[in-house]
């Protein structure tokens, strides 16, 4: 369901909606774009307003269009089956879909996205009974998808595939904890142009991140080029008392990166692999 839209459809969409309009028509244009995206990604199933149940926290004006922090707050009592984040006007609007498993302790999630032009961000939660709940914010930023990769390419290549996990200092079994997973990867969008070679740097990005705790799924993320370099997720996990937090990330060249840290309760955390 959350597959890529067919390229022809996407190209058509971009042509239809790139026609410059007057400022007064911006809202109408945004709504028209969302109509198309909704049909593309949610198969014309009704998408309701989420109201207070889901909220997006993102800077109204981004400081770095290639690294826009986005937090999706989901009302703790609402346990979603999946949550999708869309950057409406990006070349590939669907940034990520997160599917939550039994070791998830809540559906709120934080990540970082690229923003190519002034755009709406949509978060769409899928409830256990199959309803879609949507919320939206507007973000002012531009150039994030074609922005030059990494400030220090040598360091980035040396670090490629390294995974870092951050956990609270103390964990108690059955009590929700915030965890952070970072995957070092240039996440090349395919839209970054090299002026000397006169070519676009090929797309090369993390397309899947699976996180398990004590053998049970916390979340499975399908990720795309709208996610910033060094994909970064903050989420809630339910520690099981022992076991480990395992991360498996896969990129578009078929490389798999894995990392595991113990979920020892009560012990001081750090990241032993670092």
């Amino acid at each position: 369901m959350m597959r890529h839209p067919p390229m022809g459809l996407l190209a058509g969409l971009l042509i239809v909606l790139s026609t410059p309009g007057l400022a007064a028509t911006d809202a109408a244009e945004d709504a028209a774009r969302w109509d198309i995206l909704q049909g593309m990604y949610f198969k014309d199933r009704p998408v309701e307003e989420a109201g207070a149940l889901i909220r997006i926290d993102a800077p109204a004006r981004a400081h770095d269009a290639a690294l826009v922090p986005v937090r999706i707050e989901v009302e703790p009592s609402l346990r979603l089956k999946s949550l999708s984040l869309l950057v409406d006007k990006n070349p590939v609007p669907l940034a990520a879909t997160f599917r939550f498993g039994p070791a998830s302790a809540g559906s709120s999630i934080e990540t970082r996205v690229r923003v190519n032009e002034y755009t709406n961000l949509h978060a769409v939660g899928e409830t256990q009974d199959g309803r879609f709940l949507m919320t939206v914010v507007h973000v002012k930023a531009a150039g994030g998808c074609s922005a030059p990769a990494v400030k220090d390419p040598q360091e980035a290549m040396a670090r490629l595939g390294r995974i870092k996990v951050k956990l609270p200092e103390t964990l108690s079994p059955g009590s929700p904890a915030t965890a952070q997973v970072m995957v070092s990867h240039p996440n090349s969008s395919g839209l970054q142009f090299d002026q000397v070679s006169r070519t676009y740097i090929p797309a090369h990005y993390i397309q899947s991140i699976i996180i398990r705790a004590g053998g049970q799924t916390v979340l499975e993320a399908d990720t795309d080029i709208s996610i910033s370099e060094d994909p970064n997720l903050r989420f809630s996990v339910l520690p099981t008392g022992g076991g480990s937090l395992e991360v498996v990330a896969q990129d578009t060249k078929g490389a798999t990166f894995t990392h595991s840290v113990p979920l020892t309760t009560g012990a001081a955390k750090g990241d032993p692999a670092l």
Binding site: D57, P59, H63, D64, L67, P69, R71, E110, R112, G143, S146, A147, P148, A149, K151, D152, P153, Q154, E155, R159, K164, K166, P168, T178, M182, S184, Q192, F193, D194, Q195, V196, S197, I201, D230, N232, R234
Partner: protein
């Protein structure tokens, strides 16, 4: 000058330049900060129509035989005006253009020096190649398509990996490449004759420093720079001339506050937005353009330090 360019590609580029760049223009005002060392001071501002993109310092050094150009300004036209300023001061010719780093406000005037070899950090070519198209588009948005017309293709003829000396005739310049700091391609130029150090953007004065590299690396580079036996420096942004090494102090303080502030937020488990809201707030009144750059500096430094 055109006969120096043997490649067809270069010839084509020159024709293009001839079509878009003015043959002459009002020379840029320059100040002689030391004998034979001339500096044009850019505005402390973001590139905008009211400053015509003239927002970075640039200069030239005159030896007994030749001239070295250090940075060329933010548009091809500023490069032409710098060339005119050189011609107005000396009949000796530029033999080298030195780019202190990749940023467009320092390199887009290169177009006016088509036949002159360009020296830069060994990382400069790749770094600028990856960014030039984005920089060009941004300049066209800021100043109009005309200002961005005629930007020269990326060219670094003399890559500097560590240190290179240039003899202008009874005058040795020392070009030094640094590890990642302000960017991953920072280079300084030291005129031994007068003890004048062109820092490029390794030194910001008054203008808040901009981190497009690595804040902790920059602090280490400051420790190294401090030992350069200069008597004065020409910062990339700020006055044409500042005292050395005292002018480093404010920037070191800012970067230290930035790094320590981000580390505190990370230690407390905070996110980027918490850091952006608070870090280095106490520095706000001490710098120009604080709001334009500090949030980005915090964002970049957060993404750097969270891997520690």
């Amino acid at each position: 000058m055109r006969t120096n360019v043997g490649l067809n590609v270069g010839g084509a580029a020159l024709c293009l330049l001839a079509a878009t760049l003015p043959a002459s223009a009002e020379p840029l005002p320059v100040t002689e900060v030391a004998p034979g060392v001339l500096v044009h001071q850019g505005a402390i501002a973001e590139p905008a129509p009211d400053n015509a993109g003239d927002t970075a310092n640039m200069g030239f050094i005159v030896g007994d035989s030749f001239v070295a150009v250090i940075d060329t300004g933010g548009t091809p036209e500023l490069g032409v005006r710098l060339r005119e300023a050189i011609a107005a001061r000396t009949d000796r010719k530029p033999v080298i253009v030195i780019n202190t780093h990749m940023h467009p406000d320092h390199v887009f005037g290169n177009a006016a020096f088509a036949g002159v070899p360009i020296a830069g950090h060994a990382n400069l070519r790749d770094a600028l190649a990856a960014r030039q198209e984005v920089y060009r588009q941004r300049l066209a948005e800021e100043l109009g398509a005309g200002a961005a017309a005629g930007i020269a293709p990326v060219r670094v003829d003399r890559p500097v990996a560590e240190e290179v000396r240039v003899d202008l005739g009874n005058r040795i310049l020392v070009l030094t490449a640094y590890p990642t700091a302000h960017t991953n391609n920072d280079l300084t130029v030291f005129d031994r004759k007068t003890g004048t150090l062109f820092t490029g953007d390794l030194l910001f004065v008054d203008h808040v420093p901009a981190v497009d590299g690595n804040a902790t690396g920059w602090l280490r580079v400051i420790d190294r720079l401090e030992r350069v036996p200069a008597v004065r420096a020409v910062p990339g942004h700020g006055p044409a001339r500042v005292a050395w090494p005292g002018a480093l102090d404010a920037q070191r303080r800012y970067l230290t506050v930035l790094v320590e502030g981000v580390r505190r937020v990370l230690k407390a488990g905070g996110g980027i937005q918490d850091a952006v809201a608070h870090v280095a707030e106490e520095e706000r009144e001490r710098w120009l353009l604080f709001d334009a750059y500090n949030p980005r500096n915090v964002t970049a430094t957060f993404a750097e330090l969270e891997w520690e």
